[in-house]
Amino acid sequence: MAKVVIAQKILAANDSIAVDIRQSLATRNIHTINIMSSPGAGKTTLLERTIERLHGQLDIGVIDGDIETSVDAERILAVGGETVQINTRGACHLEAHMIRDALDHLVLAPGGLLFIENIGNLVCPAHWNLGEDIRVVMVCTTEGDDKPAKYPQMFASSQVMIINKIDLQPYVDYDVAKVKQQALAVNPHLRIFEMSCRTGSGLDTWCEWLVTFARGTA
């Protein structure tokens, strides 16, 4: 019996593809955001409103990950975004090879912005590097206000947190200050946006930041 030293990261194969994706997008000056949340927090609605507001200002492409259906991609197409739908057929997260293959079917303008809408799940997507520049985690006032404490790895590995459905706060027992405190406890550098994708409040600030991010100055 012989011992063989391996000394490699378990997800080395995924990470290597992610590095290729990042380099390929960087050469075209495309910035990439991996957006993650529980199901129903409002990721697709955020992308719809963002594409509408930044029309003519920023070219936006979307890779839409869902277990089944092309409903989300159809919504993005309806507001004029470029999109490719990935159906994982049961898998709970996107992996880098799926993004590499999807990019073959997506027309992206140089200098534009690419969103990767991950599977609705606050656990598994945190493990897989997709070649993104930043990670955005979205929570909303209609879910429990303990998500950052319950799923700390997701919040620790993100750079931005969005609190959505802020218009519903008067009707629900959701403590925004507590959520922020929990999130900053696991990640003191987290940038936080509060918004309502339904009423539009907070979207101007978000879009202004996105434009600076896409220009590489955020």
């Binding site: 012989a2 391996i6 000394a7 378990i10 995924n14 656990v123 790895q153």
Partner: protein, 142 residues
């Protein structure tokens, strides 16, 4: 559920390495898993054993896991402390100017293999890999 995909990544990586080493059987695989990686060890072991059972070379292989605690260093007091629930505030000085020093490891360290009696047990797997590539011998699954 991510443990299943991680187990598959382990199987792929050791299978590729075993082929390069002309192994006939993988007896065990040793991992380094950090506390902050969010891996449920029982679930990973279960997934690994299940996937290994489909591969004659890996069937019955043991998964050995070295766990690494989540720890951080405080830049203010220079102390090292255990990170609980991902909160990286220094318990001594209550400040946040800290850096993670361990706990995010997710590595395959080594494996124990059996080789054909004719092939000499070499200590350096890189040498084995190089020789196999140069002779064109690779696939030992068939």
């Amino acid at each position: 559920m991510h443990e299943l995909a991680i187990a598959q990544s382990i199987i792929d990586a050791v299978g590729e390495k075993a082929a390069m080493c002309n192994a006939t059987r993988i007896k065990s695989v040793r991992l380094l898993i950090g506390e902050a990686c969010g891996i449920f060890i029982d679930s990973l072991t279960f997934s690994f054993e299940m996937l290994a059972s489909f591969d004659p070379m890996l069937d019955g292989a043991r998964l050995l896991i070295d766990e690494v605690p989540h720890r951080a260093h405080c830049r203010h007091c220079n102390g090292v402390f255990a990170v609980a629930s991902f909160v990286t505030q220094c318990p001594a000085c209550q400040i946040w100017d800290t850096e993670i020093i361990s706990g995010d490891e997710l590595q395959i360290l080594e494996m124990e293999i059996e080789t054909e009696p004719s092939s000499s047990p070499l200590d350096d797997p890189e040498t084995v890999a190089h020789e196999q590539q140069s002779t064109g011998g690779k696939n030992i699954h068939g």
